[in-house]
């Protein structure tokens, strides 16, 4: 009985010892053993990286060169429905007609719902429609052009300083 008590006291006394980091001699095998539980994380990381990298190796763009000019009315733009005119010209500065145009308006701050719009051709190379600016601030519009031959062109146009009403 007394032996048990002594042993327990000794254990308690030992546990009371101040804890400091201890120097350790570490071999490669020890490191590998210690990191063993982390292999699923490494695997996940490697897989995600591989996916992203393979996703980035897309074919170089063969889209035709199209000049996109976007005008917004009122100018300077305000929140609410705005009139949008997009002019498409080719490298020879000739209007590009017969295209299908879609607009996607986004704020430069994440977390805002985008605005979408489809434009109609009013005259050759000139497309008109409306776009809803839901909040004041800096916007950008992605103009997606589908040409009569089926090829697609995306162009980003910045619209800074949309004023709140």
């Amino acid at each position: 009985m007394s032996q048990t008590t002594d042993s327990s006291l000794m254990k308690q006394r030992l546990r009371r010892n101040r804890i400091d980091a201890t120097d350790e001699t570490i071999s490669v095998s020890t490191i590998c053993k210690r990191l063993e539980p982390l292999w699923p994380l490494c695997l996940l990381l490697a897989m995600t990286a591989a996916c992203f990298l393979s996703g980035c190796n897309s074919e170089p763009s063969t889209a035709p060169e199209i000049k996109v000019t976007l005008e917004v009315s009122p100018d300077p733009p305000q929140t609410g429905q705005a009139d949008v005119v997009v002019r498409l010209t080719d490298t020879a500065n000739q209007p590009v007609s017969g295209a299908k145009l879609k607009l996607e308006g986004n704020m430069n701050h994440a977390g805002m719902k985008p605005s979408f719009s489809t434009l109609q051709e009013a005259e050759p190379g000139t497309y008109e429609g409306k776009l809803d600016f839901t909040m004041g601030g800096d916007w950008f519009v992605i103009v997606t052009v589908e040409l009569p031959d089926g090829s697609k062109v995306d162009q980003k146009v910045d619209i800074p300083g949309v004023k709140a009403k």
């Binding site: 000794m10 254990k11 308690q12 030992l14 546990r15 009371r16 010892n17 101040r18 804890i19 980091a21 201890t22 120097d23 350790e24 570490i26 490191i31 210690r34 990191l35 982390l38 994380l41 996940l44 990381l45 995600t48 990286a49 996916c51 992203f52 990298l53 996703g55 980035c56 929140t79 996607e104 986004n106 704020m107 430069n108 701050h109 994440a110 977390g111 805002m112 719902k113 985008p114 979408f116 909040m135 004041g136 601030g137 800096d138 950008f140 992605i142 980003k156 800074p160 300083g161 004023k163 709140a164 009403k165």
Partner: protein, 505 residues
């Protein structure tokens, strides 16, 4: 022995509500069991680390359009929003699940750090400098609209945490450097839960103090050599932030790591309910911190937290354009950083100096006390924390509530471009969040809660400071709070302009 007796009496005399009367999160079926599981924290950290890695990869290799990139969206909308909401409704669970701790954990498995954090840096000044720097860089480089730089910031954060904690012992990064951690510490004073002792009497009779010292393997003469008796391996570390549970007050400096819960041999530490903001009024000596009234760094941190909240919100509304343009035309400046520095100095130095100095002066005059102004500012500044938290809640809550569902189409789009097929379906871009007209009353509610809490804390501090002239002490600080509250309401009613490029660059 004398010391031991004094310590016991101190612990026992601490007025606390018995745990039987308090809600204990660790007693909740399933959730409590999960949290008590030794690997729960690591599991949560690995989960968030996985999400962080996806964000980093998307930041560098995904579309460089903020609304379509997971790095900008999750960092500036969802993470910030969820952090403040979880702090309001529960506690500092984001520090618990901090992903930046995973590389450190790996590094410490390879080699334990040998150095102690420099004595002259054992304060909040490094974190304050970084806190202001992050706010400044956020405004200057429009980080909310830049996926690449947001990714770089996350990587920088990982490397800093790893670098510091690989060299220095204990939780040096969390306690002295991490600006997000300091934000969480101050905000968690408003949380309804705290990691604390269940029965103080049990601590009074505890001899091992494993909650702070950690638990070593028990000496076994059959397995260990006698020479190893003093250096047996640690099987559960104690609090790395030097918070001794029986003398810990509130949530300041607590990362909810639950090391004390796992280390306590008496199962006497829980996550208990408490009255939010109550600990702010106390000026007693806090374990690992000391007396807040003597800590200039804590006062400075509180000022940055409160006035930084107003500045951060002000920078997103229309009038800031006018102000910046006015300064630019008056000074002839064509670059933004000096103008921004002026705004920061005005908001974080001159405005607090004038408001808090005037309030301290009035307090001294009306109470007839002889304390110097600095002491009074140290004592009362804490009462601003609930209001400051209310402003952060209103601001981050706005972004979160109005854009909560945008994570769905962005994730769908990321998966689509990543894998080449719509594994989660076509992106549902029409998903947004709660309309602004419904979010605005919620924002006002947060501000109202904030000022209400601040007034109550100010009153409590006033009674302690000048029991016979509490009104004289309270009125100046109530006036400061009303001024700040009105300015916050004014900011909220301004058109949210999502301020971006200024002066064309």
């Amino acid at each position: 022995m004398t010391v031991h007796t004094e310590h016991i009496s101190e612990v026992v005399s601490t007025p606390t509500v018995s745990s039987a009367q308090r809600f204990d999160l660790l007693g909740v079926p399933c959730l409590g069991r999960f949290l008590k599981w030794r690997w729960s924290r690591v599991t949560l950290q690995l989960l968030l680390c996985g999400i962080s890695l996806i964000m980093i990869l998307h930041a560098f290799f995904g579309p460089q359009l903020a609304p379509k990139n997971l790095a900008t969206l999750l960092t500036w909308v969802h993470f910030r929003g969820l952090v403040v909401l979880v702090l309001l409704l529960a506690g500092n669970f984001f520090c618990m699940a901090c992903p930046f701790m995973v590389p450190r954990m790996i590094a410490r498995k390879i080699r334990l750090p040998q150095r102690r954090w420099p004595r002259w840096l054992r304060n909040k000044w490094p974190a304050i400098v970084l806190f202001v720097a992050v706010l400044f860089v956020y405004e200057l480089f429009d980080l909310w609209g830049d996926p690449w730089w947001t990714g770089a910031l996350i990587v920088g954060y990982f490397l800093t945490a790893l670098g510091i904690d690989a060299i220095f012992q204990r939780a040096s990064f969390c306690k002295y450097v991490c600006p997000v951690g300091q934000f969480n510490f101050l905000s968690s004073t408003m949380s309804p839960l705290e990691v604390t002792v269940r029965e103080p009497v049990i601590c009074a009779t505890c001899e091992t103090k494993d909650c702070i010292r950690g638990r070593r393997e028990v000496y076994d003469p059959d397995r260990h050599k006698s020479s190893e008796a003093n250096s047996l391996p640690i099987i559960q570390q104690g609090c790395e932030l030097a918070l001794f549970q029986p003398r810990k007050v509130g949530n300041l400096d607590c990362t909810f790591c639950l090391d004390c819960v796992y280390a306590c041999p008496h199962d006497n530490v829980g996550i208990l309910s408490r009255l939010p903001a109550e600990s702010l009024a106390d000026d007693e000596v806090r374990s690992g911190i000391g007396r807040l009234g003597n800590r200039t760094d804590w006062t400075a941190l509180t000022i940055v937290f409160v006035f930084g909240a107003l500045l951060n919100a002000f920078a997103m509304v229309s009038p800031v354009y006018v102000l910046e343009a006015t300064i630019a035309s008056a000074t002839g400046l064509t670059v933004e950083w000096p103008i921004l520095m002026f705004l920061f100095a005005a908001a974080l130095i001159f405005e607090p100096l004038i408001l808090l100095g005037a309030a301290a002066f009035a307090t001294r005059k009306w109470t007839g006390k002889s304390d110097n102004l600095r002491t009074i500012v140290h004592r009362f500044t804490r009462c601003l924390v609930p209001f400051g938290f209310g402003v952060w809640l209103a601001h981050y809550g706005f972004h979160f509530f109005t854009g909560v569902l945008t994570v769905i189409p962005v994730t769908q789009s990321a998966a689509q471009s990543l894998l080449g097929w719509s594994v989660f379906g076509e992106p549902q871009w029409q998903l947004g969040g709660i309309p602004e007209r419904f979010v605005f009353p919620i924002e006002l509610g947060f501000l109202g809660l904030g000022i209400w809490g601040s007034l109550l804390v100010a009153w409590r501090i006033s009674i302690d400071f000048a029991p016979r002239a509490a009104k004289g002490a309270f009125i100046p600080w109530a006036c400061v709070l009303v001024v700040l509250f009105l300015s916050a309401c004014w900011i909220l009613t301004q058109p949210m302009d999502m301020r971006g490029t200024f002066l064309g660059g």
